[in-house]
């Protein structure tokens, strides 16, 4: 597996895609802060040109990390089947399991690298351009990222599993969106009528990061600040990650490439 990981690292580092994605995401976050800064220049009473508002945007939408993780997987591996490189790797004796686990590891590593770079630009530009004290919002944002990491890992593993199991990228994307967002929302809605669904929905990451995180100009009420809330983030995240990994590993064993 190590050779596979090394070869993929070599390939990805020599491609342009991952750098382009990092540049675009960094530029978007900086642009957001620049817009807030410019509006403030025109309107002295504009209340949102603060570090708190800027960083809370991410704290309030941590499920965005799930999407980013899946996009990284798609950018790195969506063409494997089409290019015929996957069949070469298998023909050279690399097991399907090693390829699957290698892809998960590489995707996670690159996703973390990209996230760190983007965060540097995001937080850096906020501190440079915007007003207010940034200590608390930065702390809450970093705590939130830490709490969301297991669920982001699950999202990455799900994306790798679906790309490995589905023959078509569009089908993979549809399944990923359904499992990550649509099914939790359906459970959430049915939960208003059926209590069991409500209980299950509360343990679905997209639901609890949406419902149980409040970060605004007045203060914070984040689920990871209680031990039960933090436990929920970790158990649900790692639980889904483990489940997707088992499904992926079992599924690819019998998968023709």
């Amino acid at each position: 597996m190590l050779n596979y990981v090394k070869s993929e690292w070599f390939r990805i580092a020599r491609g342009k895609t991952i750098y382009a994605m990092t540049a675009i995401l960094s530029a978007l976050t900086v642009a957001m802060n620049v817009v807030l800064f410019l509006v403030r220049q025109g309107d002295i009473n504009f209340p949102y040109a603060s570090i708190t508002f800027s960083l809370n945007t991410l704290t309030n939408s941590l499920y965005g990390l799930f999407v980013m993780g899946a996009i990284v997987v798609a950018l790195l591996f969506a063409e494997d089947r089409k290019n015929g490189t996957l069949k070469n790797s298998i023909a050279y004796g690399i097991s399907r399991e090693s390829i699957f686990l290698g892809k998960c590891g590489i995707s996670l590593a690159w996703a973390v690298i990209i996230m760190i770079i983007v965060l540097v630009f995001y937080v850096g530009s906020a501190f440079l351009l915007l007003e207010g004290s940034g200590a608390e919002p930065l702390q809450k944002m970093l705590e939130g990222i830490g709490a969301a990491m297991p669920s982001a890992l699950a999202s990455v593993i799900l994306a790798v599993a679906l790309l490995s199991l589905c023959n078509n990228i569009i089908v993979s994307v549809v399944w990923w969106a359904a499992i990550t967002f649509i099914i939790p929302k359906i459970f959430y809605q049915i939960g208003f009528a059926v209590k069991l669904f409500s209980l299950i929905a509360k343990w679905m990451p997209v639901n609890f990061f949406n419902d149980e995180v409040i970060a605004n100009m007045d203060g914070y009420d984040c689920l990871w600040n209680t031990s039960f809330g933090l436990m929920k983030c970790l158990v649900a995240g790692f639980g889904f990650a483990f489940t997707y990994m088992v499904i992926g590993l079992l599924g690819i064993r019998k998968k023709d490439v």
Binding site: N3, Y4, K6, S7, F10, R11, R14, G15, K16, E79, N83, G84, T85, L86, K87, N88, S89, I90, A91, Y92, G93, I94, S95, K254, K255, D256, V257
Partner: protein, 308 residues
């Protein structure tokens, strides 16, 4: 050490209701060049993919270098190189970087092997080109370079001369023969150009509609398809009787157009012509022929191999 490099035992592969391979048994020994012959859809690529581990069979077993357990098979596949259907590579990466990618993946030591292989397949001058810019023939040669990484003991090549120009075909043939003779690399290959296969293979397997019709060595095939005579006489029934009675030759068949095909003729052609003239039969056609691989395959496919 096992003498068999590949052994497939009762391999079955179904795609939905379609049976791509039905109880296929082949044996390929070390040092052989095994030519797999079959029409499109006969199951050649499916068999290649099963051997390469890309497709999982529904039944049967593959042994590579004497090993059949899944984990051991993966280890043995490290001793193989393969191009199946089309060579796989990253189109945006350069030729050199694509080969380096596979070198790292296969754990082959030394970067200089990349240069050496590109020189072997005549692509060194194109090493900086992106793979998507290569012509069909160049891609095919590049696929061979990938397959040759790590000095494989077995090459699995599905249509390796596909897309090559005439000089490319000759180069590829020379290269494969050189690899087989000098490095004792076992080669399993298929080609639609049977005349080309005839110049390479030491053993043939004939596959039709998912079934292996026959596996035969090139030397036995040559014997079986040795010279034959076709003669058309005014009274074919009497001539057939005379063949048996006077010349004691029983290896013949009467073709639908009343032509008599005399297989394995040990006597000179004049003897067969005299047999007709001495018995007052006129001869409209008399030819000495040799059956090609193509003819043999067609005869076999239509259910009459042993007759030739």
């Amino acid at each position: 050490m096992s003498d068999s490099v590949i052994e497939s035992k009762a391999i079955v592969k179904n795609y939905g209701g379609f049976t791509a391979l039905n109880n296929v048994n082949i044996t390929i020994k070390r040092g052989e060049i095994y030519g797999l012959v079959g029409d499109n859809g006969a199951g050649k690529s499916t068999l290649f993919k099963i051997i390469a581990g890309q497709v999982i069979p529904n039944g049967g077993e593959i042994c590579l270098f004497g090993e059949h357990l899944p984990k051991n098979l993966e280890q043995q596949r490290k001793r193989t190189g393969a191009i199946i259907e089309s060579p796989g590579f990253y189109p945006q990466l350069s030729v050199e970087n694509n080969l380096e990618y596979y070198r790292i993946q296969k754990g082959v030591p030394g970067r200089e092997i990349v240069k050496k292989l590109l020189e072997t397949v005549n692509l060194y001058n194109s090493r900086k080109k992106k793979c998507k810019e290569l012509s069909m023939g160049m891609k095919q040669r590049f696929g061979l370079a990938i397959a040759l990484l790590g000095e494989p003991e077995l090459l699995i090549l599905d249509e390796p001369i596909n897309g090559l120009d005439p000089s490319g075909i000759i180069e590829m043939r020379k290269l494969l023969l050189m690899l087989n003779m000098e490095k004792n690399i076992t080669i399993l290959l298929s080609s639609h150009i049977l005349s080309e296969l005839e110049q390479l293979a030491s053993v043939y397997g004939f596959l039709n509609e998912g079934k292996l019709l026959e596996q035969i060595s090139a030397s036995n095939l040559r014997k079986r398809c040795s010279d034959y005579i076709e003669i058309l006489v005014s009274d074919f029934e009497r001539y057939a009787a005379l063949l048996e009675k006077k010349l004691n030759h029983k290896q013949f068949q009467v073709l639908p157009d009343n032509v008599i095909r005399i297989s394995n003729p040990k006597l000179e052609i004049e003897v067969f012509s005299r047999l007709a003239s001495d018995n007052n039969m006129s001869i409209s056609k008399l030819e000495k022929k040799q059956m090609s691989l193509e003819n043999y395959y067609m005869t076999l496919k239509n259910g009459g191999a042993s007759s030739c």
